[in-house]
Symmetry: C2
Subunit: 373 residues, 2 copies
Amino acid sequence: MHDTPAPFTEEDYAARMSRAARDAAETGLAGLLITPGPDLTWLCGHRPAATTERLTLLVLTPGSEPRLLVPSLERPDAESAPGADAVRISDWRDGQDPYAAATGLLLPNGRYAVSDTTWALHLLGLQEALPLTTYRPLTVVLPLLRAMKDDHEVARLASAAAAADAVYEEILAVRFTGRRESEVAADLARLLREQSHSQVVTVVSSGRNSANPHHRTGERTLKKGDMVILDFGGLKDGYASHLTRTVHVGEPTEEERTVHDLVRTAQQAAFEAVAPGATCQEVDRGARRWIEDAGYGEYAAERTGHGIGVTAHEPPHLTGGEETFLAPGMCFSIGSGVYLPGRFGVRVEDVVTCTADGGRRLNATDRGMAIVA
Amino acid sequence: MHDTPAPFTEEDYAARMSRAARDAAETGLAGLLITPGPDLTWLCGHRPAATTERLTLLVLTPGSEPRLLVPSLERPDAESAPGADAVRISDWRDGQDPYAAATGLLLPNGRYAVSDTTWALHLLGLQEALPLTTYRPLTVVLPLLRAMKDDHEVARLASAAAAADAVYEEILAVRFTGRRESEVAADLARLLREQSHSQVVTVVSSGRNSANPHHRTGERTLKKGDMVILDFGGLKDGYASHLTRTVHVGEPTEEERTVHDLVRTAQQAAFEAVAPGATCQEVDRGARRWIEDAGYGEYAAERTGHGIGVTAHEPPHLTGGEETFLAPGMCFSIGSGVYLPGRFGVRVEDVVTCTADGGRRLNATDRGMAIVA
């Protein structure tokens, strides 16, 4: 068993909900409506066993106490959530109309942000119960709700990153030649679980498959001369890891070395562009310029990175055209990649946090092209 | 490896989509809008790797060919789905507006049924792109979309039920005394997987816990004298199993025997009430009357059963007040239960299909109170 970090406190949850309500007010919203998923768990600590047709709804209204409406069957669960004391819980019973129960918590003509993943069943129920309310997807109006992490959250991401580093160092010792992508991916998954990870995702792209950035692990057998992209992560103590390294089976060619060096240089340039006040697209440009200057522009990866936290992919998106400003506490992946169709690809990606002084890498393992057997 | 049944054909999928569109027309709908989930897979065979912020939408319009809109990245997957030849596929690319792409497939003022689980993000996108369209939750307007199974589907449910029967017969040989609920539940899960099941759900409720119909498997240690409810199932070849039996550790008391006999009698009465044209609540009454007459009415289970197919719980619901008529091809669980708070509970539940001649049990294993060690 690993050391579980101290749980978040009632004050942590109260602070998150209060900040979210303030952000809503500043955006001209009457409030936030949150259904089960990462936002609900992050805001109030409640994680229903399943997302179902029974409405569970957290209502955050500027200037009012947070309200959580739950099915009566799930009330005991909700009351035992770590943030339960920071919300006022009410319930509805089977046979009652949950949307009627929700109307007492909403302004009849309010404009609300609603979780992207809220079921249509529930949104239509609210729209019918309160025809003058209007709704916007949460990530459209408040994309950065969970983007700024506090020190405890950064510590959890750093711990997840260290675990992923350890997995990478262990995988270098396994045999690659003669085994299938799916077998190496299973090794990665097992190592991640040994490193206290859950919800593991592992992708192994070898040889020509490495040139396809959307490759799914398959049954190709690895052989000498293959580039192999290892892209993996999962959740540890509720926070995500995501690490990508490209290794080579046996000795690489000169061109393979050149492309790998280029990708690492580009990734370093993106990392160095991280600073409070820099925009996402400036970081993306930092990587892309190097690749373009080297003549590989048309083969560059589409995106440099993405936010990471209680989910593996979240705003901010480090892509061209994205003008969001970086701020201290934001955590995201920084990657660079070159994909030569039909031949090979290289990607290197780390998790980085933005501090007042610039970027800090949470992954520390070597970014060089390891030679595997 | 078990023998995989013959896959459903393009004709099977075409027939399902055509029937769904006809049902939509009869309900006064302009069509059905289906996003990833069991309905999408059942209708056209497409099962995206994940449900994401990228819109995937099946549009079924009476009198028109089925249309499937997918993200361009997922087009290869969609084109390899077993029902792909029965739909016309189009795609949208990152950077394009998927809702604008969808408008070409919808009537600008149509009234549509939409999957219950469609993300609010997508529903709001459609509502904004086509402000005069209106939407109703699919299970509200067409609850029986998947309820009538064809012979191939019933065969898969029968195969899943036979596998669950085999698991039950095997679990009787394991040790119960001195082991925890979680350990017996893990045994059930392992046996189900050995019987080619995926997405396994197992609940073990022992002693006083058996009196709580919402108990989740815990760490209680089983001991002589315990009633133990075993409630388990999963998916086999895409179709669900669900079996509940109540066993006893060592010799039961006379009252325990009496209650178990009563539950079995009530379950048999419900089974005998199954016939085309009977209503769901008549079947429910069939079980409940016996329990009430025996003086246990206030301790009776809330519901007799639920539909089963590509999901483990779906309409029709066999409960009081539910006036849906049974029809040949419907498949559902039939259960009965008595829960004596603080003492013990008993539940017995099988999967049954409605034929022209009445109910046919798909589970064949003994319903008596087995004595375990």
